[in-house]
């Protein structure tokens, strides 16, 4: 049958495409990592610079996820539950981080918070608060680039569910906070969880924006995260780049898998 043959061809193209794009690089990184042996792997991930990079990556990602979970939910509620002038503009703006290069986002942060000639930076620096070349700036940059991931999960759910349940709760006597905790949060919980995991995976791997705002400092006052360190090692032909890449890859895959199976089991229930 002609249509059967067409389907086979299409399926083959899809499989080859995904294999070249995703599977081959995964295999290469894995074989490079494992082929170098256990002792190389251990020294690549356990030296002081690497341990600090892991700590910074975890701190940055965790803080960015926390910031986006709170403010992302707030923005999602604002976009779906209230009518105000500029709502459509805001709705378009929150997608900006997807289309704008992370480098631009990082440069914009430097323009505002740069300690020497930023808008607010010098005052904050005078007050002893450093944003750029420090953890706060890295968190801001990461939160900025990953914000749309959470919004894109939560906004459609809020829009589809509408306000019926919240109004019903209101008539039954629930105040704003009770409605949020008892109705809104359970309604968006699966979408919020998925958004958080995507944000986490994106934050762990963030390179461009963090590269700009962190200054890529190593040694004392290190601001270098795992992706930055991996690239540095690669550029300087130092060993240990693939080992770091392998860990980043496995972490992201595990987070996505956990959510995938959670979703499956929820859908099955």
């Amino acid at each position: 049958m002609a249509s059967g043959r067409n389907a086979t061809v299409l399926r083959s193209i899809a499989v080859v495409y995904v294999a070249l794009l995703v599977f081959v690089p995964l295999v290469v990184v894995t074989s490079e990592t494992l082929g170098a042996g256990w002792s190389v792997f251990w020294s690549a991930v356990s030296n002081e610079q690497a341990v600090t990079a892991f700590r910074l990556t975890i701190e940055t990602a965790a803080a960015a996820v926390a910031v986006n979970a709170v403010f992302g939910t707030g923005v999602a509620l604002l976009l779906t539950r209230s009518r105000f002038p500029g709502r459509r503009l805001l709705s378009a703006l929150v997608d900006l981080p997807i289309s704008v290069s992370p480098i631009v986002a990082g440069l914009a942060l430097i323009l505002v918070y740069g300690p020497v000639d930023g808008w607010l930076g010098p005052y904050l620096h005078g007050a002893g608060i450093d944003i750029i070349f420090a953890l706060p700036g890295m968190v801001l940059a990461t939160a900025f680039v990953s914000l749309p991931l959470l919004l894109r999960e939560v906004v459609p759910v809020l829009a589809e569910e509408g306000v019926d349940q919240e109004q019903a709760a209101r008539v039954l006597g629930a105040n704003g906070w009770q409605r949020f905790v008892r109705i809104t949060v359970p309604t968006i919980r699966p979408a919020l969880l998925y958004g958080i995991v995507l944000t986490l995976a994106r934050s762990i791997g963030e390179f461009g924006a963090i590269r700009v705002v962190s200054g890529n400092v190593s040694g004392a006052g290190q601001t270098q995260t795992v992706p930055l360190l991996a690239v540095e090692r690669l550029e300087r032909f130092q060993p240990g780049a693939y080992q770091l890449a392998f860990i980043l890859m496995i972490t992201s895959m595990l987070t996505i898998l956990v959510v995938f199976f959670r979703r499956e089991s929820l859908a099955g229930a």
Binding site: D164, Q165, Q167, A168, R170, V171, L172, G173, A174, N175
Partner: protein, 311 residues
């Protein structure tokens, strides 16, 4: 009076949803707000419940001015057309919601919820999620949830509108019996005149943001205040420039006092009734007859008849 709404006006942009509407609902009555879609009846109900704010006018519930009172403090029961079930909570927890918010003791909640689930015949579904219920069951759950807090008034917004015809009819008569047992002052919105005529003690006909007529079902049906109410409440046909109900047309086979001559153009049988379409001058009235009547008159297409409207 349980509910007194006076001079209620509500605009959405340039659209006037309600234009100085007054409404009084007596204690323990079952009142229908009846009218076409977009006529303002749902908006009026939502204003009584506190879900919308009027631009002008006042609402009193049991003598208390509630115009500025937030919905969560009005102690009304509200049932929505699309159930508004709390999807993540079991049927039991849905019904218990208002009581939990009011921090009632656990065993009181358990007793009250069981009573209500029994009342709405859902006692064996207590642990189900709303998604596992049929539409009719969900709406009974929503009703139990609204009644759980012993509301001062019960407001139902097109409660049966999303259900199919059979279930709608069952729930209608069930609501009527329920109301006869509980006597909670109830207002329900519907665009279905049959539903209003069957269930309500009193009907308020609303159109274009105004009250067209208030009265008992018999009143508004038999003595409509104007052509709109007449047309909206049942079938109409025209004879000598006047609107009449087709079942109020007398058909004679010989000339009779005050009757006008006509010719039968078509006979159509619909179940137990016969629709006789006729031509009388430049009018085309039709009469609703029983099969027996049509046979006794020996009506055929082309038959010469005389028509008179029953007074």
């Amino acid at each position: 009076m349980s509910i007194e709404a006076a001079g209620i006006t509500k605009r959405f942009g340039n659209f006037v949803a309600l234009n100085g509407v007054d409404l009084s609902v007596a204690d323990g009555r079952l009142t229908a707000l009846l009218g076409p879609s977009g006529g303002g009846k749902s908006t009026l109900l939502r204003i009584i419940g506190g879900l919308d704010q009027p631009d002008a006018g006042t609402v009193h519930i049991n003598g208390r001015d509630t115009t500025a009172l937030p919905a969560q403090h009005r102690n009304v029961g509200f049932v929505f057309q699309h159930y508004a079930a709390f999807k993540h909570l079991s049927v039991y927890r849905n019904v218990a919601f208002g009581l939990e918010i009011r921090k009632r003791p656990k065993d009181e909640i358990r007793r009250r919820v069981s009573e209500l689930l029994e009342l709405v015949h859902l006692e064996q579904f207590a642990d189900r999620l709303p998604g596992q219920l049929s539409g009719g069951q969900r709406q009974r759950m929503a009703l139990a949830r609204a009644l759980a807090v012993e509301p001062s008034v019960l407001l139902l917004d097109e409660p049966f509108g999303a259900l199919d015809a059979q279930v709608r009819k069952e729930l209608r008569s069930w609501l009527r019996r329920l109301h006869d047992d509980m006597h909670v002052t109830t207002v329900f919105v519907t665009h279905d005149q049959e539903e209003a005529l069957e269930v309500a003690d009193e009907i308020v006909v609303i159109n274009h943001g105004r009250v067209e007529q208030v009265g008992s079902p018999a009143d508004v049906y038999d003595r409509p205040a104007n052509d709109f109410v007449m047309t909206f409440l049942g079938p109409v046909t025209q004879l000598c420039g006047r609107l009449v109900r087709p079942h109020d047309l007398e058909v004679f086979t010989s000339d009779t006092a005050d009757a006008v001559p006509a010719t039968v153009s078509r006979l159509q049988r619909v179940g137990f009734e016969v629709r006789a379409e006729m031509i009388a001058g430049d009018e085309q009235p039709w009469a609703q007859l029983t099969r027996g009547q049509a046979e006794a008159l020996g009506l055929q297409p082309g038959s010469k008849v005389w028509l008179r409207a029953l007074e």
